[in-house]
């Protein structure tokens, strides 16, 4: 089975986020990128699948600081092909990224495409459904485990309230991974170093990005400090009385 895993980097929340003077984007000078956690799970799920049924895992991502390290680490875990998209992604959005990835995937013709179900910087929708749309393939999101057959996979989709649905999906298909069947594995540095000397990262130039369908940010700002909260104790009746009093004070009643 040929499994493609398009992944992306997102801002690392360990660093304090600051807004660019323009007020519509993050200040990139202090920005540090990290793999989207769900994408990391998608890679793990792909490797698990490969270990179970055999096949080939392709990890692809847009170029970014640290991208090579991530790709090599994926290879050390068991990925077979590493692809880095090159081009100017500074003003990219998910629509544009999905289109660029779709072009690549049309060429690769994988049986299965696994990607993180979401990312914390998905401003214009998540990558998975967009990819499915551009490729004309079925999509199932919030997947936490799957079993593969010859031309179909059975996926376990998580719903709110602890419900799980099992559904069959005809291949090829795009799946949004919520969680791999086991947490992403640790890969020793010595292994990554070994891989660096043997594995190759293929470069694919993306000539121009098509941003259409994305959103326009009019203002980006830090959460505004609100009035402090007050905890009210006492019986429900007493609390209700207090609440009414407060509302009266505020003039809302």
């Amino acid at each position: 089975m040929k499994i493609a895993v398009p992944v992306k980097f997102v801002p690392d929340l360990v660093e304090e986020l600051t807004i660019d003077p323009g007020g519509t984007a993050l200040d990139t000078s202090w920005l540090r990128l990290i793999i989207n956690e769900f994408d990391d799970h998608a890679v793990e799920q792909a490797i698990l699948l490969k270990e179970r049924v055999g096949g080939q895992v392709i990890v692809a991502m847009a170029e970014a600081e640290g991208a090579d390290d991530f790709l090599f680490a994926s290879a050390a875990k068991g990925a077979d092909q590493l692809i880095r998209l090159t081009g100017d992604f500074s003003s990219s959005n998910n629509h544009a990224l999905a289109r660029a990835l779709a072009d690549l995937l049309k060429e690769l013709k994988p049986d299965l495409i696994l990607t993180g179900v979401q990312a914390h910087n998905d401003l214009d929708g998540s990558i998975g459904p967009l990819l499915a749309e551009y490729l004309g393939l079925p999509y199932v999101g919030y997947v936490a485990g799957l079993t593969a057959a010859a031309d179909m996979v059975t996926v376990r989709k998580e719903y709110a309230g602890g419900l799980i649905a099992e559904m069959e999906v005809k291949l090829p298909a795009v799946l949004g991974i919520q969680a791999a069947e086991q947490p992403p594995r640790y890969v020793a540095y010595s292994k990554i170093r070994q891989v660096m000397s043997t594995a190759k990262i293929e470069e694919r130039a993306v000539a121009s990005l098509d941003l259409s369908g994305g959103i326009t940010i009019s203002r980006m700002f830090q959460p505004e400090v609100t009035e402090r909260a007050t905890m009210m104790g006492g019986s429900p009746e007493e609390v209700a009385d207090k609440v009414i009093e407060i509302f009266k004070e505020l003039g809302t009643l």
């Binding site: 360990v14 947490p183 594995r185 640790y186 020793a188 540095y189 010595s190 990554i192 070994q194």
Partner: protein, 660 residues
């Protein structure tokens, strides 16, 4: 003239039979030893450099002097008695044989005559008694007092091995005395009184008459000879092999600094997956183990959860080398991941082992394989990922590493920008742990009040990697060490100082420094020097009654015991030692990466045991530490043991700060 016919009452055929038995014994013995040596040679190569005479002296001291064995009184004297008694008896017997069948037979010349013979008889007679006493102590200990450390057997058959040795040695000694007694009963020499034990036995047999006694003598002599040769031949196949393996293991023990862990053996950095990947020295370690269990008694992992017993590990590993069937895998069947992760690398086991086994190196080599598989605790995995990404175990941005310096006046110098005398390598805990910021600032304050010209690396510093290495993540350790070395290479300084013993250890013993290692000091050493030179002058005498906890990586690993004690005394405190102190100090439980792992199935945390030990000291209400991790470990332990009112955990620097 006092003399004796060595083969008195022994017919010629029996004497010849004895030499044939001896020849067979030698062949079996050599076959067995050769087999063992070939087994060791299946291990990986490992160089053991060092001075020949230093090594020989160590063997003399430890084997003939029984130096470490005597660290424990009862077992020490027990072993000392058996060792010296059996040693002299064996040499004496061989000597008498040579005297009779070589010098007398071929040259008609005997050494064992006259007064020399008398002294010889007396010595052997008395030393035989020493063996009896030693064996008696051993039987009493193993089968009556039954200390816990001799009880748990991962391999049941070894109980018989222990018993075999005691029975055989007892039989040899007693049958030897009987033979002597019967001879004296018949020959009744004038000098019989010089063999007090033999003579006493003789009196018991006098009434039986000469012919009976002579028959009995020949029978017992034959049994004595057969048993003695049997035991000699069995040396390579039983516990007795320690007579060869232990001196060899002591001879080949490492002369490198204790804090320098040997690098990963396999070229790609991965650890030991199967036994042939151990070095020959590690295989020798396993075979040298006598199962005495001293390591188990001092092991904090064993004390807290009883998952890991260093003794049982050695026993199981040795057994694994020799098993012919079963097809057991080293990882999983023989040693479990839980055992391996339980080790705090405190080195207490290595310190007490009379056979000079290096357990910790073996555990780390096995851990390296687990890391290679990515098989580890989730918390540890996250920590390693954080260390790789941010250079610290807290998963915080490296940009905030020096956040604690905000507001310190005058501003702490950036050693990357200006040259300093002391480069302070702050370390993760002192930098990031919010509850330690106050202590870190006090350290800066003391340094400044003392007029030290010091600076730090700010966000150029990374975790030094001591415990990353001991977790078994060699590649990550190398990366961290490279980063730090590069940052340090760009700075101008004379001495590195750190408050963290773990950092101190790896900087001092494991960083390459390209042959140009700077002076590296633990702050206890620096404070001690500054007090001695008069640069630090105290205006207050504190007058507290305190106890001090030796950090493993400062004490056992680097031998720094006196400096912190002198500092404590200089602040006017009275130091009361805990029962376990100095090289016997009990680990806090944090080392070797344990602080980054979930504590599962813990009965009593090592740190809690330590606090309970401290509160028994009369009038001591201050527990002084010299390690940032200790501060967090023991502050917790004081709370969890409910001793918050009775014991205050304080850093060494707090005493100095207060006394200034």
């Amino acid at each position: 003239m006092p003399i004796r016919e060595t083969f008195w009452n022994i017919p010629h055929w029996a004497e010849v039979a004895q030499y044939i038995t001896a020849l067979i014994t030698v062949i079996v013995f050599l076959y067995g030893v050769g087999h063992r040596i070939l087994r060791w040679r299946k291990g990986r190569p490992e160089k053991r450099p060092g001075n020949f005479w230093t090594r020989v002296w160590l063997v003399v001291l430890q084997v003939f002097g029984q130096r470490r064995t005597l660290d424990e009184t009862f077992p020490g004297l027990m072993h000392f008695s058996i060792f010296w008694g059996m040693f002299v008896l064996a040499i004496g017997t061989a000597f008498a044989t040579v005297d009779w069948d070589v010098t007398h037979l071929f040259f008609n010349f005997q050494i064992l005559t006259g007064w020399f013979y008398i002294i010889f008889e007396l010595t052997l007679d008395v030393l035989g008694l020493l063996v009896v006493v030693g064996l008696g102590m051993a039987v009493y200990r193993r089968y009556f007092t039954r200390p816990a450390r001799l009880q748990n057997f991962p391999v049941k058959a070894l109980e018989w091995d222990d018993m075999y040795v005691l029975i055989m040695l007892s039989f040899i000694t007693l049958s030897g005395y009987l033979t002597e007694g019967l001879r004296i009963a018949v020959t009744q020499p004038d000098w019989a009184a010089w063999s007090p034990v033999g003579n006493a036995i003789a009196t018991a047999f006098l009434s039986m008459g000469d012919p009976t006694n002579q028959t009995l003598h020949l029978t017992i002599w034959s049994l004595h000879i057969l048993t003695a040769f049997g035991v000699l031949a069995s040396i390579p196949f039983t516990k007795l092999f320690h007579m060869i393996a232990v001196p060899a293991n002591i001879y080949f023990s490492s002369t490198e600094p204790a804090g320098k862990l040997s690098a990963a053996k396999v070229e790609d950095g991965s650890g030991v997956k199967e036994w042939k990947q151990f070095t020959w020295k590690q295989l020798l370690d396993f075979e040298a183990c006598t199962r005495c269990g001293r390591c188990q008694d001092v092991c904090p992992a064993y004390a807290s959860a009883q998952v890991l017993s260093p003794r049982n590990m050695m026993v199981k590993l040795d057994e694994h080398l020799w098993e012919k069937t079963g097809g057991h895998t080293l990882h999983g069947d023989i040693v479990s991941a839980a055992e391996l992760w339980a080790c705090t690398t405190c080195r207490a086991c290595v310190q007490v082992c009379p056979a000079f086994i290096d357990h910790v190196t073996t555990f780390v080599d096995l851990r390296r394989h687990l890391v290679d598989l990515g098989s580890m605790d989730k918390m540890l995995q996250d920590t390693l990922a954080n260390l790789g990404r941010y250079g610290n175990s807290f998963g915080q941005s490296e940009r905030t590493r020096a956040k604690w310096t905000q507001g310190v006046q005058p501003a702490v110098k950036d050693a990357r920008r200006e040259s300093v005398e002391y480069l302070w390598f702050v370390g993760d805990y002192a930098s990031y742990n919010a509850t330690l910021t106050d202590i870190t600032r006090k350290t800066a304050d003391v340094f400044q009040k003392t007029g030290l010209n010091f600076g730090i690396l700010f966000d150029g510093e990374r975790n030094a990697g001591n415990d990353v290495r001991r977790v078994g993540e060699e590649g990550l350790f190398e990366m961290l060490a490279d980063r730090n070395s590069q940052a340090l290479a760009k700075c101008k300084f004379e001495t590195i100082v750190t408050t963290d013993p773990h950092t101190y250890n790896t900087l001092k013993n494991e960083y390459a420094w390209n042959g140009n290692r700077p002076n590296i000091l633990h702050y206890a050493e620096l404070l001690d020097q500054l007090i001695t030179s008069g640069q630090i002058k105290f205006s207050n005498k504190l007058g507290y009654k305190v106890t001090y906890h030796d950090p493993c990586y400062l004490g056992r690993y680097n031998g720094v015991y006196d400096a912190p004690r002198r500092v404590i005394k200089a602040t006017g405190c009275e130091l009361v030692e805990m029962p376990r102190h100095g090289d016997r100090a009990f680990c806090c439980g944090a080392g070797g990466g344990r602080i980054w792992m979930d504590e599962k199935d813990i009965k009593e945390r090592p740190s809690e045991s330590r606090i309970r030990e401290a509160v028994t000291l009369n009038g001591v209400q201050t527990f002084v530490v010299a390690c940032p991790k200790d501060l967090t470990m023991y502050r917790d332990a004081v709370k969890t043991t409910g001793n918050e009112k009775d014991m205050l955990v304080r850093d060494l620097i707090e005493l100095v700060y207060e006394a200034l």
